[in-house]
């Protein structure tokens, strides 16, 4: 029964989760914590933190974690929990898979249609803005600390930001290498 509920809940989240991982998190919270009581608010906060700290899209991370925790909290054994995390992850992806395949097929067919070209003429400059906004929204004390709370961490963060930006922009360094180097710097300095 809980598997069916997991499927329905996460299918809905995948289907109506517009606007990326953070928008999905609020849907997950209202469904999983407030409606179904699968997790406590504290457990949910842990999931958010873990999702942000581990690699992978936040939507997938939280679905996997909630699927496991919900089933185990309901008193089932560990193997059922693993099944639950599989179920939640699969359900959150399924709507995207169906929709994106339909849209891809449509776009590939009408790529050169004048109306589609007009629409994309408006979209392309906006995407530049979207990307800029994504970067600006992440310039927070959560990510950089601040001169008042922790000046050492703040200036190191600024230095790592500059190092990564220049490494990517000017020297075309591999992004994965840059992430690993900054992780090592964090381990040693912060």
């Amino acid at each position: 029964m809980i598997f069916l509920q997991l499927f329905i809940t996460f299918f809905q989240i995948g289907l109506f989760g517009f606007g990326g991982g953070y928008a999905m998190l609020s849907m997950i919270q209202s469904d999983v914590v407030s409606n179904h009581h699968w997790l406590t608010a504290g457990q949910f906060t842990d999931i958010v933190a873990i999702s942000q700290m581990t690699p992978g899209p936040i939507g997938i991370n939280s679905a996997t974690y909630v699927g496991y925790t919900a089933v185990v909290n309901a008193g089932y054994p560990v193997w059922a929990g693993i099944l639950g995390s599989l179920m939640a992850t699969f359900s959150v992806i399924l709507p995207s898979l169906i929709l994106m395949i339909i849209i891809s097929r449509f776009l590939m067919k009408f790529r050169n249609h004048p109306v589609v070209e007009d629409v994309f003429t408006g979209l392309r400059p906006a995407v530049v803005g979207l990307l800029a906004a994504a970067a600006l929204l992440l310039c927070t004390a959560d990510n950089f600390s601040s001169p008042d709370t922790n000046a050492w961490q703040f200036w190191i963060s600024i230095a790592l930001f500059a190092f990564t930006y220049i490494g990517q922009q000017t020297y075309k360094m591999n992004p994965i290498l840059l992430i690993l180097m900054c992780g090592a710097a964090g381990f040693l300095l912060l």
């Binding site: 700290m53 891809s104 392309r124 990307l131 906004a133």
Partner: protein, 174 residues
């Protein structure tokens, strides 16, 4: 097919802090190295993936996979993107619920987070070139960014408005 899977497995493994963080990785791997897509196609795809529901990173993977190898390709990319997260999170849920309280883990991520922000900022000007931003249309990205950043607009609305704007402009020019 195996290449699609391993490429997106790597992308999934190093996408930290949300879907946009994977853009520079995709740019480097898929556009510059493998030439599976042009930079302009990637931008179009970002607009589409952003206005569709679901996980941004997965949407992008599905589209690229489908373009190259139809449905099996889409599946290979999806599984590739999702698998690293799935395994890591499951391991954390099973074995170390206390994961985020280890001080070494916290230090490493304090170093990684500013880098992720820089990696998202870096493609902005490259993308601006591809979108042929000039002084006549530079207001579009500026207004979009400010509306999302300062006014809290949803990117979905920005995409819809920009698409409608492009369509209307095209009709008026006829």
């Amino acid at each position: 097919m195996w290449q699609l899977f391993t490429t997106f497995f790597r992308i999934g493994l190093f996408t930290i802090g949300g879907g946009y963080a994977m853009i520079p990785l995709i740019e480097q791997k898929v556009v510059d190295e493998k030439h599976w897509l042009s930079r302009q196609e990637l931008m179009d795809l970002m607009a589409v993936a952003q206005s569709c529901p679901g996980v941004f990173a997965v949407n992008i993977g599905i589209f690229i996979g489908y373009k190259l190898r139809k449905t099996p390709g889409a599946l290979a990319c999806t599984i590739g993107t999702a698998l690293p997260s799935f395994v890591i999170i499951l391991a954390i849920a099973l074995f170390f619920q206390q994961f985020r309280h280890y001080s070494a883990v916290e230090s490493i991520f304090r170093g990684i987070r500013p880098a992720v922000v820089a990696l998202i900022a870096a493609p902005v000007f490259r993308m601006a070139k591809t979108a042929r931003i000039c002084r006549y249309n530079v207001w579009i990205p500026v207004v979009s960014a400010l509306a999302i950043w300062l006014l809290g607009f949803s990117p979905v609305y920005v995409v819809i408005l920009a698409g409608l704007g492009g369509y209307t402009y095209g009709q008026l020019m006829k």
